[in-house]
């Protein structure tokens, strides 16, 4: 069996000022081991919601369906357990942690995950060496490590910091929620390289994006179109090109 990430009929809602609002309305998605899939969809279709539900955000109540990862029921696990299992979410809007030193945050995170995975923890020296290599690879200034997590980071710097975390935590499933938004052209290439170099038989990714351009750098195995809380169409990389040219209209009409 090549079931890696397997989502069936997933429904989720959020409490919107007292009234439940359904956002995911029976979503099906399979990502086999080693594959990179992309999701594209109009604003508000539920892409970020899907990523939050997969990462374990409690405000989103799952009301139906299943989601399993590596054969485990993902929905039963705490967010930190999912992280240990290899799920990583690069946030669409990375969160600021005032006063929390970035290097310290990264090292604690890396070691929390390594501990949970039964791996040896990194000491300060080993970690710093690794972190320096990775920041250099992402063309980030080493100064970013000394600052408070995401505080005062530019939009692009925040996104790079997400990719830095991904690389350090070495996930087996990376969910990238619009990581390309706000990146300049060079940064886009650098970030794509950061993802591509992780590609391999044990690494899968779900790349959420609005831009076909990213998918020229990170060439996906499959592209899914999402609308109104469902996957309404799936195909190869050509779907992205088609969307770029014609927009969502045809897919939306076909789905009705």
């Amino acid at each position: 069996m090549n079931d890696f990430l397997k989502i069936e009929g997933l429904k989720a809602q959020i409490d919107a000022d007292g009234t439940p609002k359904e956002i995911l309305k029976g979503l099906d998605l399979n990502i086999p081991k080693g594959e990179v899939h992309a999701i594209m969809g109009p604003n508000g279709s539920g892409k970020s919601t899907l990523s939050y539900v997969l990462a374990g955000r409690e405000e989103y109540e799952v009301t139906g369906g299943t989601a399993s990862f590596k054969g485990q029921d993902l929905l039963e696990l705490e967010p930190e357990e999912r992280a240990a299992l290899g799920v990583f979410l690069a946030f669409q809007s990375p969160v600021e942690l005032p006063g929390v030193n970035n290097a310290n945050f990264l090292r604690t995170a890396v070691n929390a995950v390594r501990r949970a995975r039964g791996e040896e923890e990194l000491d300060a020296v080993a970690f710093l060496k690794l972190a320096r290599e990775e920041t250099a690879r992402l063309s980030m200034s080493g100064e970013m490590l000394k600052r408070a997590v995401n505080v005062g980071f530019s939009g692009g710097e925040k996104k790079r910091n997400e990719v830095l975390q991904m690389r350090l935590l070495q996930p087996s499933l990376a969910i990238l929620d619009e990581t390309d938004s706000g990146l300049d052209i060079d940064a886009l290439r650098i970030v794509a390289e950061g993802v591509n170099s992780l590609r391999g038989p044990d690494f899968s990714a779900l790349v959420i994006t609005h831009h076909q351009r990213l998918l020229e750098y990170i060439v996906p195995d499959r592209v899914h179109v999402m609308a109104h809380g469902r996957i309404i169409h799936s195909g190869g990389p050509e779907v992205a090109t088609q969307l770029e040219k014609q927009g969502y209209k045809q897919f939306l009409e076909a789905a009705q």
Partner: protein, 493 residues
Amino acid sequence: MPAVSETREAVEKLARSKYEWGFETDVEMDLAPKGLNEDIVRLISARKNEPQWMLEWRLKAFRQWQEMDEPQWAKIKHPPIDFQDAHYFAQPKKKPGPKSLDEVDPELLKTYEKLGIPLHEQEMLAGVEGAGERTPVAVDAVFDSVSVATTFRKTLAEAGVIFCPISEAIIEHPELVKQYLGSVVPVGDNFFSALNSAVFTDGSFVYVPKGVRCPMELSTYFRINARNTGQFERTLIIAEDQATVSYLEGCTAPQRDENQLHAAVVELVAMEDASIKYSTVQNWYPGDENGKGGIYNFVTKRGICKGDRARISWTQVETGSAITWKYPSCILAGKGSVGEFYSVAVTNGHQQADTGTKMIHLAPDTRSTIIAKTISAGESDSTYRGLVRMQPKARNGRNFTQCDSLLIGDQCGAHTVPYIESRNMSARVEHEATTSKISEDQLFYCRSRGFSEEEAVGLIVNGFCREVLKELPMEFAVEAQKLLQISLEGSVG
């Protein structure tokens, strides 16, 4: 919390006791009878072999106290304290301690471990019998241990620093004590200072002579000793011209005490170009889950920058006690002198804290900085209360105040009460205040990176307190960080 059960037990035991306390003054006695009157004051003074002038001083204080009323202005609530229902000379009888760590409450040990306290220190803190004698050099900083006290004293004596129990200073250095005791916190300053002046039994005395930089932080020493400190501590620190000293009080390990009421007085005197840094980590027993049995901590701490360019810095991390009432203050009397107050106050459960500072600018070019971080969780309530006063002569006086509150959950309260009195046009006072909550976004972000919820709270809180924690001596800062996390365990979710 681990210390909780032990303390509760101890407190209950004391309450249940049907023991008839004899009024005797022989060496065997552990406790004076309950109540406070002139005879008790005389007894305390006699037990400490004090000279007549000290007894007179105490009696005067006692008479003054009798005329005073408990202050009511703080935002704290507690059942009335019956001051006659306490022992004022109470050196609790040494109960036979556990023989080894195996006999100690494993919960307590778990907390020590989380704090990263070395094993031999754990023994000492847990009161394992003979722990003091067996421990190696690094830890034998026990107050009672004669050999170590000697080592410490030798180094300090070579530098000319006097560091001894206040009771000893009264006998050995009466001129210094007479000159300075009560000079910063007058006996009648407030109800609790008057009480302390009448009945204090413990505390330390530090004298750093002119031009001397104290060769060691007076810290490790006290970290252990703190376990034995009594309920009415009295500390007096004097730094002569160009002298420098850093003093650390308290202990990150949860401390239990049979005495519910604590009323300490600390006085600091800094002469010309002298610098005194006073750091506190307070983690007294906060009471059970219903807030019962916790320590009431009413503290008066004040320093005076007597000489020009003197500097006094208070740093405190307050996590314990059922009630904290405490305002470490600076009187800036010397030209260009500097006062600083860095504070973290954490309340959880049913704890109440009313804490802050006073910066009294008397002289020109004086500067003060106040950074107060308040963290409230559970059903606790916390108030920052601060006074900045610029007297007419404080030309070009400067104050910067920043008060930040962090709320965890929605049943707690945080309040900021700043008093600003400026009688001087050239003085400048700046005040900034923020209130925030730990957001779900922040918690989820951390957890998605592998942190447990508690680790995430600890991380965010430590970030919030960073400006204050960095003022603590290095090794203590590390323990304080862990302490913050432990204090807030179970506060979310």
